[in-house]
């Protein structure tokens, strides 16, 4: 079933691609076969991550970035992630609200995703959906994360270029010195630059970037935008283009792809190993019960489980 569906998707059928994305999200059994067809064709797109705190204007900016790429003759895929409720699993995916002008454009494919409990700012299937967007021929794939704090930086494993969007009014200079989000930026954007305090954020970011500068390494430029007025978006895309050119030339691109592949293989392997072990150890649940009752500790339980599954040494 899925092999024919992939063929149809690769031939440009939107519904087939959309159904495959659902399968990538919801049908773990189908994923390996789909990805074996998709992955080899997924290398051509420029994947741009857009991340930042809630309310920074990520959706509006993504919308204007998409519009500008369209003006430049490029096709665009958008993968927009919003959080799932930890209590009932439901989600309201509202990123499309800011992208309405793109709805009628066949050159833009927007897919909303719920995070489904995955920490890190993306959904578990985001990476595969991005690959599918690339495989069906989108020149640029924009990945919009959930509104993030400081540690949700999974986007760097997916994106070739990461844009971190900041806004005035979220904190002082010390916030920008903390670890995490700021270290993953290839380009900084101070959005809502017409607001009070924008200059302060701009200067703070510039200072931080300046301190971290190293010879021969990419130093993230800081730009001002007003997404709702379409200000600064052209300049942003020029910087993004400079970044990918630099990354390709310097070997950073290859290095990042290899690091991302390591993490991906690692995650799939863990998943498969766990499933294989659970399959071979029917009494898996019993161990949890006994550890829960503090009959023995979890390390001992794992030792037993490994012995029982034949993986112990």
């Amino acid at each position: 079933m899925s092999s024919e569906l992939v063929e149809r998707a690769l031939n440009g059928e939107v519904r087939a691609a959309a159904r495959l994305m659902t399968a990538l999200e919801s049908d773990p059994e189908a994923v390996p076969a789909i990805m074996s067809q998709v992955y080899p064709k997924a290398g051509k797109a420029h994947v741009i991550g857009v991340t930042g705190p809630p309310g920074a204007g990520k959706s509006s900016l993504v919308d204007k970035i998409a519009a500008t790429y369209r003006d430049r003759g490029q096709t665009v895929g958008i993968v927009a992630v919003d959080p799932s409720s930890p209590f009932n699993g439901g989600a309201i995916l509202g990123d499309r609200i800011r992208m309405q002008d793109r709805f009628a454009d066949a050159g833009v494919f927007i897919r909303s995703m719920a995070s489904r409990g995955q920490p890190g700012g993306l959904a578990k299937a985001s990476q595969n959906v991005v690959a599918l967007m690339a495989a069906i021929g989108k020149d640029v794939v924009l990945v919009e994360t959930v509104g993030v704090g400081q540690e949700e930086i999974d986007v760097i494993r997916v994106a070739d270029t990461t844009v971190v969007v900041m806004v005035p009014g979220l904190g002082d200079a010390v916030q920008t010195m903390k670890a995490g989000l700021l270290e993953v930026a290839d380009v900084f954007v101070v959005n809502k630059a017409d607001r009070d305090g924008a200059d302060r954020v701009f200067k703070d970011l510039n200072l931080m970037v300046h301190i971290g500068m190293q010879e021969g390494k990419w130093s993230a430029p800081v730009l001002k935008t007003v997404a709702t007025e379409n200000q600064g978006v052209d300049e942003l895309l020029d910087k993004v283009a400079q970044h990918i050119a630099f990354a390709r030339q310097s070997g950073q691109y290859e290095l990042r792809r290899r690091q991302a592949a390591t993490v991906e293989i690692d995650a799939i392997l863990r998943d498969r190993l766990l499933r294989a072990v659970m399959h071979r150890v029917p009494a898996f649940d019993r161990y949890a019960e006994e550890v829960g009752r503090r009959q023995y500790d979890p390390y001992t339980a794992v030792e037993h489980i490994l012995q029982e599954s034949g993986l112990g040494n």
């Binding site: 009932n88 509202g94 009628a104």
Partner: protein, 124 residues
């Protein structure tokens, strides 16, 4: 969807709390845009709120374009200020369920849960 979105937002929230993933598109959607969204998002169901008296046009066109695009199996439902006399006509156009003012949250949730379950069971 027209210029009023309180009803739509309340329904979106109700459905979210019932565990649905709701793609909220915002106001003033054309039938073409609604269908394109359903297509790209591989939606199980499309819900439309109309309070502007344009319900015949919006539901009728949406249903027609859905059939044209091969989305006849996607559940189309909605509500708003709709005269009871128009319900039968809307259903004949392919609207699966029309909720009139006063419909309760559980009513909407139950309908959708059942319809989505049936649709998924029927899927190839």
């Amino acid at each position: 969807m027209d210029g009023h979105d309180r009803g739509a937002k309340v329904v979106a929230r109700l459905l979210r709390d019932a565990g649905f993933e709701v793609i909220y598109t915002g106001l003033y959607q054309t039938p073409e845009a609604i269908v394109n969204t359903a297509l790209q998002e591989d939606a199980d169901a499309v819900g439309i709120s109309v309070l502007s008296a344009a319900h015949k046009h919006i539901f009728g066109e949406t249903a027609r374009i859905m059939r044209e695009q091969g989305l006849a199996d996607v559940i189309l439902f909605g509500g708003g200020i709709i005269p009871p006399n128009d319900v039968l006509w809307l259903e004949q156009q392919g609207v699966r369920k029309v909720f009139l003012p006063g419909a309760s949250g559980p009513e909407i949730i139950d309908f959708l849960k059942q319809a989505v379950t049936e649709r998924r069971r029927a899927a190839p």
